[in-house]
Amino acid sequence: MNSSVDGRLARLRGSLPVDEPGARGFERVARNPDCTRLRALTIVGIDSATAAVQVYGEPAREGQSPFAIAIGNRFDRAMAENGAAELLELYRTAGRLTTEECKVVIVPDMVPIGSRRDLKHVMAVRQTITQKLLEQKLRRDPKAPNIIVKPRVLVTLLGLDHGIEPDVLVASDSDAFYRPVEIKSYPDRAGKTESADIRSASRQAAVGVVALRNIACRMGVRDVAALVPALGDLVLRIPGALKPTLRPMTLKGEVDSLERAIQEAPSNLEELEEMLPAGSALDDPLVLESIPNSYRSSCREYCALAQHCKQAAVANGDPVVLGDVARETLAAAGSISRALDLARGTGAPPRTPAEQALAEQLREAMNEYREAV
């Protein structure tokens, strides 16, 4: 069964290499639940950047800046080094952990990549270690760690099992279970921190909540929402230093939207296979193009296919190229040229009540505009 699924996924990927989506991949799906193309790529494990370059032949674009990557890596390392001393201090200062609650496990240190040639074996060992630690906490073992750095949990998302690695899990001895922590090297400028960054980090933390609920469910917990509430912590960076700040977040909206997004069709491999021609693979531009997309102006923040989708939207005269407000307002018209026809009263008469309403709205706006100028 397992090998057949692997075989089916491999067939769907065609010649494209596999890439584990991780929390970031699912966070992207939740950002744009209407984009079936991104969802399909995520299900079969193809990175959008790989698809852009290898399927559509687009030039490789610069990803995250090397400077940002270096800062991010340094910050992550600083949080984990010396027995996660910085994180312990952070949670102690916040009153979330006491001096005695200092039990720390750093999973990658126990099974580092490079100590074995087989990456899958390394990941399987990390997964086993994490599973044991979570079971320990669930049975209220006093030796259960308070901080687990880079655990690896296996969760079912989009109908398949995926490895997810939250940055940190944290719990005091009295807590029933862990809370996910997302570490980001964004400078914390209080109310002036980039809100898109905070939203993105919150959605990734929400993937952690969904993952913990998923694993608790597998361990036989009935009320997973009570055990793992929609709460998470963001650890950001004090501007100009490698010192952390703590932001507890309520993630109800993010968790709900993520759960909704992963239930949308195609929600699993079977549904994806049904919507594609038999024997086809996503490395074929025609096949990938046949899967509906849903371009939005925010796509360029996280999806390497954004430029390709934008070009298609421009070619089709899709109102989204005028912005997300225009996309919603002109949805009934379907295209910019049709919206112009409706506004000017040219072309075919309105075909639906929605078009009729839009035509009246547009004509009214045109009249107001003429009077104003």
């Binding site: 010396n82 720390v104 099974v111 074996h121 760690p145």
Partner: protein, 295 residues
Amino acid sequence: MEHRGSDTILSVSTPVDKIRSKISEVIRAKQDALQKMESVLSDAAATPAALDEAQSEVDHLTAQWSRLIHELRVVQFESPERFGAHRNRAGQRPMREQILDLLDELGVPSSPRVISEYAFACLGIELPIARFASLRRDEERGYSRDSSSKPAWVVPALNSTGFAPIPRLVAISVWPIERRLIGPRTLRVNHLKILLALIGRVDTLGPDQEATRRVLALIFRFARSVPGAGQGVGEPDLGRIRSAAEAELQAIGPTDDIERAQAAERLAKLPPDRQVWGLPPMIKREPQVDYKVSG
């Protein structure tokens, strides 16, 4: 002799000679660049761009020089072990012996980064972190060939629950079992013990101001997470840091001692090589391919 086209290149014998030869070239190029910069500076008509260009050339060569000097140190550091001639070279000891000494001073299993930082702070020597992994593999191979061939081995610390090795924490094989074990609280306990070892080391550094400054910087970094260590404005107080670290150690140390002692009893029942290198980590499921269907 090696011939390449019309040029004749003298082949050099060892990596050290090669690097020295490159350093000589860089020194000559830097002298030229400095002369050029001097002439630009003395030329009243020279543009700021010309000055920037000359400065950039000097900076580039300085960086190259510094990299080559670092490479030379590494090669010289490795060569005694590689060729077995270290006893004949004054002041050059194999990396493993340096690590054993440093671990002995720190007193607890430590990460390569901490050992490397400690070596640089106290002795001014650079121990490349990247070499620790190969060293540990060499040690394991050497031990399996003949465990009595060396009095002590650089070994991984062991997890106190399943006795799986923790490759990113190194220890000394002759330490008592419980000192090589890592329990749930041990990472924090060892952090405090390292801090206390660093404070103790400051008094032994003598007149080396630079080393003292480096060790103090390390102490302040380690002390940052200790409640009551007082990292406020003004001169940090080593006495206060020591008291704060000891107080925290007193709060969590005894429980950690008990947990590790209990684990040590279990580990002592295993064969001697398992007591040193631990047990392979257990996997619940077979390693998977990238995805797997859930039920």
